[in-house]
């Protein structure tokens, strides 16, 4: 019997020690008070409102409509808009695989043309907020994102849909993003070993500027001439042009994509969680074209060898750092956790850039 009680005692001691070690480890989680540190954690934009509300994160970086979703719900407020950090920065782009551009450039030009027309339609609708078209725009956005028309209204006004042609300024931004990724050591291989002389050369190779002119020559047809698989991000209203071009009502019964002879499909009907995930879908060969942020394209063409080209700009600006109402200044995020869509996304890059500009070290939460 002595043996048995000793054994039980031993078990109890082991359990107590393990629990104590765990408790100690838990309590020493985020305890760097004498250092300027902000922590990050991957939280999908669609979940950031809930995560801020229950205190899991103190702030989140997300794309529209999830910025205004949190703001209008009273969960948080905008600490800083992306254009206050990077004025007029390009955000989402339209890309096409090199194989599509080689084998069927006409199909890519048709998609781009529908996108150009859709963007023009949007600009007109936004310029006339009392028009029926604007109401239609809000309804399309609300249905896609699962957010109210009030949220969509604010989102549309915080995002730039001014142009589809990639400008020289956009190109410089792409070079800046590339340089930023280099300084963060995010390239698994050096871009020079991939055959580029430097960031500018890389960006020049990555952007196809000639397709835009070809797209402007495309004529409408009365039958489908191409099937194109297009990727997009979950509930992302930066990529509003795709929704407008897919909508039959906008086109007066036939969508703009179909008017230009393109049947559009998507292998992932809910959209991809972030740009890097969409780049993986390109690597898997299930996409011909896609809407996603420029930084994941710049990152994963090098790291994953995904052969895509940027053929158009989708939007500028339209991201923000949303903080819980108790946080009124960026400095109050000291020691707190900020949610981002994940490494490789433009929002993650924006947050790292801004925090470092303000002298903060950024660490993964819990490290």
């Amino acid at each position: 019997m002595v043996k048995k009680s000793t054994a039980i005692l031993a078990v109890v001691v082991v359990v107590v020690v393990v629990v104590a070690v765990l408790a100690a480890a838990l309590m020493t989680g985020n305890n760097n008070s004498n250092q300027k540190v902000i922590y990050w954690e991957q939280v999908a934009p669609v979940n950031q409102k809930a995560a801020i509300a229950n205190g899991t994160i103190s702030a989140g970086v997300s794309w529209e409509p999830f910025v205004d979703d949190s703001v209008l719900a009273g969960t948080g407020h905008v600490l800083i808009w992306s254009n206050q950090i990077w004025d007029s920065h390009p955000c989402c782009v339209l890309v096409a695989t090199s194989s599509l551009l080689q084998n069927n450039p006409d199909a890519a030009a048709r998609v781009l043309r529908a996108d150009i027309d859709a963007t023009a339609w949007m600009q007109d609708a936004i310029a006339h907020p009392n028009s029926a078209n604007y109401t239609l725009l809000l309804n399309i956005g609300a249905q896609f994102s699962g957010r109210s028309t009030t949220v969509v209204n604010d989102s549309v006004n915080h995002t730039g849909y001014a142009r589809t042609q990639v400008s020289t300024e956009d190109m410089s931004w792409f070079v800046n993003f590339t340089t930023e990724f280099q300084s963060l050591n995010q390239y698994a291989v050096n871009i020079t070993t991939k055959g580029y002389t430097g960031p500018a050369d890389y960006v020049n190779h990555l952007v196809n500027q000639s397709l835009y002119a070809q797209a402007l020559q495309v004529q409408k047809v009365d039958h489908i001439v191409a099937n194109v698989s297009i990727g997009f991000l979950t509930g992302d209203l930066h990529q509003f042009a795709r929704l407008v071009a897919s909508n039959a009502t906008v086109g007066g019964g036939v969508s703009l994509f179909e008017q230009y002879g393109v049947h559009v499909s998507s292998p992932n009907l809910a959209g991809y969680a972030n740009g890097p995930a969409e780049m993986d879908a390109f690597a898997a060969g299930v996409l011909d074209m896609g809407y996603l942020g420029a930084p994941p394209v710049l990152l994963k063409v090098i790291n994953s060898g995904v052969n895509v080209k940027i053929i158009g700009l989708v939007n500028t600006e339209g991201s923000a750092i949303v903080a819980a109402n108790s946080i009124t200044d960026f400095s109050q995020l000291q020691g707190k956790i900020v949610g981002t869509p994940g490494p490789g996304s433009i929002q993650h890059l924006l947050f790292l850039y801004y925090a470092q500009q303000n002298g903060y070290t950024v660490k993964l939460a819990g490290t």
């Binding site: 991957q42 899991t56 995010q186 993986d280 990152l299 060898g305 490789g344 950024v362 939460a365």
Partner: protein
């Protein structure tokens, strides 16, 4: 997994006995052959997401010696984060599953009352809870409770069946000698369920380990080997991604070997085998 760990255990025990030279030769031929085929295939395909073994080896070593540029910690930090969650979830499941299994096995009323609920929840794959747990319980307790669910059901079932399969002769013998309900429980039922508990632990460890990797892939505080994979996938650092998979394989092998060893040790000590 268990077969592999058993063969390694045997190998260590009888190290280099004549009979085992054959086994050792097979292991070496098998592994070297695997690496060679991998190398040739990766060279032929020449795609970024299918790196050659040397690149994965370099990434594997680097992951332990250098801070990851995206995560800012080493593989040790990720392993520690995963093990912390794993241990917490496993302990909670153990503390809950053993009493529930014992009580359900011993009391017909509790069995009748709890069984419908348990049968309702048991078929749900633990991973199904990931999206909601991460939001509702946060980044530490979310994954912990996914492990809890993964370990709880197999462990509880094993304990339950252990109680049910107690030799009725032993129970009768105890009763004839005047043992009360509590004595029968503590001196007959409990000791004879220990081997079943151990089987439940071994199964639970395997499932729990799969759960932690999957749960961490969506998001986890302090990193973790599962999250390490997600991040390498996001930035497209494929050699590091494969290195993470190698780490998971090694840790899985270590976990099952350890539980197999404890099971044998306990069985020998308690005289069950």
């Amino acid at each position: 997994m268990t077969k592999a760990s058993d063969s390694i255990n045997k190998l260590v025990k009888k190290s280099f006995g004549k009979k085992n030279i054959k086994t050792l030769a097979f292991i070496i031929i098998s592994l070297v052959g695997f690496v060679l085929i991998w190398w040739i295939a990766a060279t032929l395909y020449n795609i970024d997401y299918f790196p050659t073994p040397d690149k994965v080896y370099t990434a594997f070593i680097n992951s332990f010696t250098h801070n990851d540029p995206t995560l800012g910690n080493t593989m040790w930090g990720n392993i520690f984060a995963s093990l912390k969650r794993f241990a917490t979830g496993f302990l909670l499941a153990f503390v809950a599953a053993v009493p529930v299994g014992l009580l359900m096995g011993s009391s017909k009323i509790l069995d009748g009352l709890l069984k419908p609920i348990i049968e309702l929840f048991r078929p749900i794959p633990p991973i199904a809870w990931v999206p909601i747990f991460l939001i509702a319980l946060g980044f530490f307790w979310g994954p912990v409770f996914i492990i809890f669910i993964g370990v709880f059901f197999p462990l509880m079932s094993a304990v339950y069946f252990g109680v049910k399969s107690v030799d009725p002769v032993l129970l009768d013998a105890a009763r004839t000698q005047g043992a009360g309900r509590f004595s029968i429980f503590s001196k007959v039922v409990l000791p004879s369920t220990v081997p079943h508990i151990m089987t439940g632990i071994r199964i639970g460890l395997g499932i729990g380990w799969m759960c932690i990797v999957a749960a961490e892939m969506i998001g986890a505080i302090g990193g973790g080997v599962g999250y390490y994979l997600t991040v390498q996938q996001l930035v497209g650092n494929y050699p590091a991604l494969y290195a993470g998979i190698v780490v998971i394989a090694l840790l899985g092998l270590a976990t099952t070997s350890l539980s197999g060893y404890i099971e044998k040790w306990l069985a020998a000590r308690m005289g069950f085998r």
